[in-house]
């Protein structure tokens, strides 16, 4: 038990030398998986389907050595979710009405952060998130991903991300390869690194409040060879998070737009508006999300949940517009040995309508209706301290104070082990502390 804890969260200071004399090393590892049952009624088969999975099986590891940091997230959905997870309205990477399995190497980055003259700065490189949009849905208070996942995040790219922070202002810029993964084990096109870019400006006007705007230009995401449609993306996000020792509150409102362009000519414009919030007290939490998102329609394969990748040409079948209300209720977590489990249920009511342009999309032909339900029940299992805020690196991480209060109690003191960096301000120190998830329990 003791050794396991050491494996999960290891702080080795000095290794026999005085702590003050050397740079401390910190390693934080978290393991998560969610046994889940989902019923989609109806779905792309024009009938109801009920399926079970082990979803979001991930191993997250963060390590620090002085100003250096390494981040790794191993996502094993390629082993447990090869057919995709029933997610009506969801799409991307050759899946439709199912969420695709993510790449095994979800994140693998190294970087460094430091301060000088009141500025904090960091640079990270590796595979991970481009500085665009909102946090990865995996670290938000719902199991089901929103329809807008591919509008609101750009991930699993080979990125170089630089960030500068002064007081309440953070500026990030990154360059990366435009090609999205073609499968869990696919290797990015390293020759395309640098063909796409993203930038994000974040303002922290008040404690717990974060405002950000970001832009991205993604070259040919769907055709690895290039010459596909390019995407110009914009995002505005307002986020609020507050926590005390017994409760926490969270809210997020975002607007996204992606324009798909053929040789610079706008072909398809996809927009999304999403609002979500969560309240957690004494370990139990209630969350709700509403979104309206445009989805590009593609030619299906024999399997109605799959579309050809790469697509056989540059045209689409039109757009559908999804309005989704999701409510999630999670019970207080319980802990057995080193594993924490938190049961939850999620219910989603979905409506789909023709988008603009509708093309040949017809909800009656695809689903037999324009109203659907999704019911999900599962248990979020984790060991170690939950990591969070996926999508920001170095000094761009913003809400360590709030997260600390929501963090798993057994590791609440971990921030104390973080070594101070010479000349570092309190803000910057927070930005380089461990990322602890919003979805871990609140309260004692």
């Amino acid at each position: 038990m003791v050794s396991l804890r050491i494996w999960l969260t290891v702080t080795v200071a000095a290794l026999g030398l005085a702590r003050d004399a050397v740079r401390a090393q910190t390693v934080s590892v978290m393991v998560q998986a969610i046994p889940l049952v989902t019923r989609a009624d109806p779905t792309a088969t024009r009938s109801a389907l009920t399926e079970g999975y082990l979803t979001q099986p991930v191993v997250m590891a963060h390590a620090w050595y002085g100003p250096l940091q390494a981040i790794g997230t191993l996502n094993l959905e390629g082993l447990t979710l090869q057919r995709g997870e029933l997610t009506t309205g969801g799409y991307g990477e050759g899946y439709v009405d199912r969420r695709h399995p993510h790449a095994y190497v979800h994140e693998l980055l190294v970087g460094a952060a430091g301060t000088a003259a009141g500025f904090g700065a960091s640079i990270f490189a590796g595979r991970g998130f481009a500085p665009f949009g909102s946090d990865d849905p995996m670290v938000r208070p719902f199991e089901k991903y929103p329809v807008n996942h591919h509008l609101a995040q750009v991930l699993e790219r080979v990125v170089v991300v630089g960030a500068v922070r002064r007081g309440p202002v953070i500026a990030e810029v990154g360059t990366f390869n435009g090609d999205e993964p073609t499968g869990p084990g696919s290797v990015p096109k390293f020759s395309r690194v640098g063909d796409s870019w993203a930038s994000r400006l974040t303002l922290l006007p008040l404690a717990g409040i974060e405002l950000s705007a970001s832009l991205a230009h993604v070259t040919s995401p769907e055709i690895p060879q290039g010459h596909g449609l390019d995407q110009r993306k914009g995002s505005v996000v307002a986020r609020y998070a507050h926590a005390s020792r017994t409760s926490s509150r969270y809210a997020l409102v975002e607007w996204e737009q992606t324009g798909e362009r053929d040789r610079g000519v706008l072909i398809t414009k996809l927009q999304s508006v999403l609002a979500e919030g969560a309240y957690c007290r004494a370990g139990a939490s209630l969350a709700a999300r509403i979104e309206r998102t445009d989805r590009p329609e593609e030619e299906p394969l024999l399997d109605p949940f799959r579309t050809p990748r790469p697509p056989p040409d540059l045209s689409n079948l039109g757009e559908s517009r999804w309005t989704t209300l999701t409510v999630s209720l999670a019970a207080p977590p319980t802990r057995a040995w080193f594993v924490t489990g938190q049961p939850f249920v999620e219910v989603a009511r979905l409506a789909v309508a023709p988008g603009d342009p509708a093309g040949i999309f017809n909800s009656g032909l695809r689903y037999g209706t324009d109203r659907m339900w999704m019911f999900s029940a599962g248990v979020r299992l984790w060991a170690g301290m939950m990591h969070g805020r996926m999508g920001r690196y170095g000094v761009a991480e913003t809400d360590a104070p709030m997260q600390m209060a929501m963090g798993t109690p057994s590791h609440a003191a971990e921030s104390d082990t973080m070594p101070d960096m010479p000349g570092m301000t309190h803000d910057v120190q927070m930005a380089t502390s461990p990322r602890i998830s919003l979805i871990s329990s609140c309260g004692p």
């Binding site: 050759g94 073609t182 499968g183 696919s186 055709i223 060879q225 290039g226 010459h227 596909g228 449609l229 798909e260 053929d262 040789r263 000519v265 072909i267 398809t268 030619e299 299906p300 394969l301 024999l302 109605p304 050809p308 990748r309 790469p310 056989p312 040409d313 540059l314 045209s315 689409n316 079948l317 039109g318 757009e319 342009p357 509708a358 093309g359 040949i360 017809n362 032909l365 695809r366």
Partner: protein, 430 residues
């Protein structure tokens, strides 16, 4: 109505002076009757240079619709007609997946559905062709498992399955399958979709014995797609998307090349790329100097499309050159068929219906006012619309949305496959 005013005056330079001075639609032209056997391909006689021809610009006429046959359960795709029977394939998933080939009696004005064939394990039967002897029907299937399906047409109204050909090369999906006879053998040229971790490729299959088709050649090509081919007289024209149009010798040049061992003669990158389909035009005078190239830009099926027709001069097959284009605002071209005796190109134009274009004579000579200069590409081209060559438009007067995939001219009629509605029969443009 079009007006034809061919004049024969000697010096070409004087023509431009005259045109500039008068702003009229006439000009002196002297036809070059010299035949051309290019050094790079002496086996092919490209014939004389197309005769000069000047037209005045007029409002395109409406093509007269003779009748239609409905298909509303599936989206209709390509069409092949061997009178009095037409075959239309189907695409994607409507209320039912596109796994059916419809067989129509087109002897009357109104096409009548007489039978159909279901092709198992396919969502799209995107391309269809009938062999030159009328004995074989070839259907391409997408997606995985991509294949070609060969049917015996002893009874043209009752195709009988002979063999389905697929292998690891065709697995991602066969987008098109063009067939041609070369040195007595019948070949199918398959444009293969890219797949997960696989690049697009061209596969050649010897289907002389349809019970025992043999793959004789394959190569990775296209950037990122190879969408179509056009084979004629031992040349193969390959549509390589952003790598342009490529001309292959597959036996016509007399250099020893063959379908099993093709040789690349030349390549041209047409403006905007996205080269989708090709027609090598043999005009009534024997001139074979032009290839028409279809550009398939991005669009929304049922609503919009983009892409021009590009005219490529292949007088030097090693250095083909784009000389003219045809553009429709708000619509893009798809497949072609040419009435070569009368010099009329019919183009499926998706939401733009059917377009009939006068392609007689010299397409590369025009006035400055009829030119389009692309400084970026260092390319000056004639605009066929401004040259008065837009003859007629079809199907836009039917009070319903159309999305035309393919056309075929045959015997004074034009047959059009419409993704949304089925098959149309129109009278040819006058």
């Amino acid at each position: 109505m079009r007006t034809l005013k061919p004049l024969f005056v000697a010096p070409l330079a004087a023509t431009f002076v005259l045109l500039a001075a008068c702003g009229d639609s006439t000009g002196p032209r002297a036809a070059d009757t010299t035949s051309l056997k290019p050094a790079s391909c002496s086996g092919i006689n490209l014939g004389p240079k197309p005769a000069p021809l000047t037209l005045s610009q007029t409002t395109p006429a409406a093509m007269r619709v003779l009748g239609s046959g409905a298909e509303t359960a599936r989206y209709t795709a390509e069409i092949a007609v061997r009178s009095p029977t037409a075959y239309t394939t189907t695409w994607g998933v409507r209320s039912v997946q596109g796994n059916k080939v419809n067989i129509w009696d087109v002897s009357g004005n109104t096409p009548t559905l007489v039978d159909s064939v279901i092709v198992a394990a396919s969502t799209t039967t995107g391309d269809v062709a009938v062999s030159d002897d009328g004995k074989l029907l070839v259907v391409a299937t997408e997606f995985s498992p991509g294949s070609i399906v060969l049917y015996d047409l002893t009874d043209p109204r009752k195709p009988a399955l002979v063999r389905r050909f697929s292998n690891d090369e065709t697995a991602p999906g066969v987008h098109t399958a063009e067939i041609a006879r070369i040195n007595g053998k019948l070949y199918a040229f398959l444009a293969i979709d890219p797949g997960a971790g696989r690049l697009s490729r061209l596969v050649t299959v010897d289907i002389t014995d349809p019970r025992n088709p043999q793959q004789v050649y394959e190569t990775v090509t296209g950037n990122p797609y190879v969408h179509d081919t056009y084979a004629r007289d031992g040349l193969l024209f390959v549509a390589l998307w952003n790598d342009g149009m490529q001309i292959w010798d597959i036996g016509g040049c007399g250099t020893g090349a063959s379908p099993e061992a093709p040789k690349v003669l030349g390549t041209v990158k047409t403006a905007n790329g996205e080269v989708h389909n090709i027609w090598w035009y043999h005009d009534a005078s024997g001139s074979k100097r032009y290839a028409f190239v279809g550009e398939e830009g991005a669009g929304t099926i049922g609503n919009s499309s983009r892409g021009d027709i590009h005219v490529v001069d292949i007088t030097d097959p090693t250095q083909p050159k784009e000389i003219a284009f045809y553009h429709v605002d708000g619509a893009g071209t798809h497949n072609f068929s040419v009435d070569e005796a009368n010099g009329v190109l019919y183009a499926a134009y998706y939401n733009g219906g059917v377009r009939a274009i006068d392609v007689r004579g010299d397409l590369g000579t025009c006035t400055a006012a009829q030119q389009d200069v692309n400084a970026v590409l260092n390319l000056t081209r004639c605009n066929l619309r401004l040259m008065g060559r837009e003859l007629a438009v079809g199907l836009l007067d039917q009070n319903r949305q159309v999305y035309v995939w393919g056309v075929q001219y045959l015997g004074g009629n034009v047959y059009a496959s419409d993704m949304l509605n089925g098959i149309w029969k129109l009278a040819a443009a006058k």
